[in-house]
Amino acid sequence: MSINATLIGQMITFALLVWFTMKYIWPPLFDSLEERKKKIADGLAAAERGQEDILAAEERAKIVLKEAKEHSSELLSLAQKRANEIVEESKDTAKKDGERLIIAARAQIDQEIQQVKDNLRAEVATLALDAAEQILGAEIDKAKHQDIINKVSSKL
C-alpha cells in the first residue's frame, strides 16, 4: 500500500469533476430551485390577495342584494297599489256598462210591447168585425164602416 502516481491522476479527475459541477451542474439546478421558491411565494401571495378580494366582493354583494331587496319591495307595493286602482276602475266601468245595457234593454222591451199592442189592436179589430158580422148576420160593408173600425181599434 504505497502512495504513487495514482494520487496525481485522482487529483486531476477530482479537479475536473469539481470544475464541471461548479460550472454546469450546480447553477442551473440551484437557480431552478430558487425560481420555484419564488414562484411558490408569489402563488401564496396571490392566493392571499384572492382571498381578500373574495371577502370584499362578498361584502359588496351583500350591499347590492340589500338594495335590490328594498327596491323590489318598493316595486311590489307600487304594483299592488296600481292593481287596486285598476280593479276599482274596472268595477266602475262595468257598473256603467251594465246600467247602459239595462236602459237599452228596457227601451227595446218598451218598443216591443208597443208593437205587440199595435198588432193585438189590429187583430182584435178584425176579430170584432168578424164577430159583429156573425152576430148581425149581415154583411157589413167593410169600406163603409172602416172609419168606425179604426175608431174602435184606436180605443183599444
Partner: protein, 258 residues
C-alpha cells in the same frame, strides 16, 4: 506484494489477491488502473446523472430525477449554509461533488466481493480492486486537494501576512512563537491526513470483513454478510457525509479571521 499473493495459497492468498490493485509502472510512477478506472467511471456516472437533470431543470413541477437531484442539492446547500457563512461559488458544488463521488466509491463495496474480480479475470486482468476508497491514493488525492483549497483560501482571505500571523501568534501569543508554529502545523496537516485515513480505514476494514465473510462456509455467508451489508449502507453514507461536512467546516475556518 504481487508475487507473494501468487505464492500464498488458501485464505491468505485469497485476501491478498482481493486487496491487491491492478497496477502498471514501478516505483512512484505506478498507476493503479482499477482505482483510476472505477473512480473516473463513477465520477462520469455522477456527472451524467446530474447533468441530465440540470439540462431538464424547470421551476415547474419536477420529475422523478429532478426531484431526487434537487433533494441532494437542498441537502448539501443546507449543510453548507449551516457551517459556512461566507459567500463562495465553489464550496457548495465542491461539497456536492465530494459527497456524491465518495458515496459512489463506497457503494462499490456493496457489490459481492467476487463478482468484479471474477469478471476481471475473465477479461485477463490478474487483479481488480473495485472500491476506490480502499486505495489510499484516492482518499489522499481528495484530501490533499481540499488541503490545497484550505491553504489557498486562508491566504486569499487573510492575506499572506495575516495567515503567517495566525500560524505564528496563535494560540499562545508572540512569546511562544516556535511552539505556536509547531501546534498550528500539526493542526493543519492533521486535517488532510485525518480526512483521508478515516475514509480509507473505514472502507478498507469494511471490505476486509466482506472478504473474511466470503471465506466462511457458504451456508454461513448470508447470515453474516446480509447484516454487515445493511450496516455498511449506513457506514458508506456516513463516511461520505463526514468527508463533505469536514471539508465545508475546514474551508469555513479558512475563511474566518481570528
Amino acid at each position: 506484494m504481487a508475487t507473494e499473493a501468487h505464492a500464498a495459497e488458501g485464505a491468505t492468498g485469497y485476501i491478498i489477491h482481493h486487496l491487491t490493485p491492478l497496477s502498471v509502472g514501478s516505483g512512484f510512477w505506478t498507476l493503479h488502473l482499477d482505482t483510476l478506472f472505477f473512480s473516473a467511471l463513477l465520477g462520469g456516472l455522477f456527472i451524467w446523472f446530474f447533468k441530465s437533470a440540470a439540462d431538464k431543470a424547470t421551476a415547474g413541477v419536477p420529475g422523478l430525477v429532478q426531484n431526487f437531484v434537487e433533494m441532494m442539492i437542498e441537502f448539501v446547500d443546507t449543510q453548507v449554509k449551516d457551517s459556512f457563512h461566507g459567500t463562495s461559488k465553489l464550496i457548495a458544488p465542491l461539497a456536492l461533488t465530494i459527497f456524491c463521488w465518495v458515496f459512489l466509491w463506497n457503494f462499490m463495496d456493496l457489490f459481492p466481493v467476487d463478482i468484479l474480480p471474477s469478471i476481471g479475470s475473465m477479461m485477463g486482468l490478474p487483479y481488480l480492486r473495485s472500491v476506490p476508497s480502499t486505495d489510499l491514493n484516492a482518499t489522499f488525492a481528495m484530501s490533499i486537494s481540499v488541503f490545497a483549497l484550505i491553504i489557498f483560501y486562508s491566504i486569499k482571505i487573510k492575506g499572506p501576512i495575516g495567515f503567517a500571523k495566525e500560524l505564528l501568534f496563535q494560540p499562545f501569543g508572540p512569546w511562544l512563537m516556535p511552539f505556536n508554529l509547531l501546534l498550528k502545523l500539526v493542526e493543519e496537516i492533521a486535517k488532510p491526513i485525518s480526512l483521508a485515513l478515516r475514509l480509507f480505514g473505514n472502507l478498507y476494514a469494511g471490505e476486509l470483513i466482506f472478504i473474511l465473510i466470503a471465506l466462511l462456509p457458504s451456508y454461513l455467508q448470508p447470515l453474516l454478510s446480509f447484516p454487515w451489508a445493511i450496516f455498511h449502507i449506513l457506514i458508506i453514507t456516513l463516511q461520505a457525509f463526514i468527508f463533505m461536512v469536514l471539508t465545508v467546516v475546514y474551508l469555513s475556518m479558512a475563511h474566518e479571521h481570528h
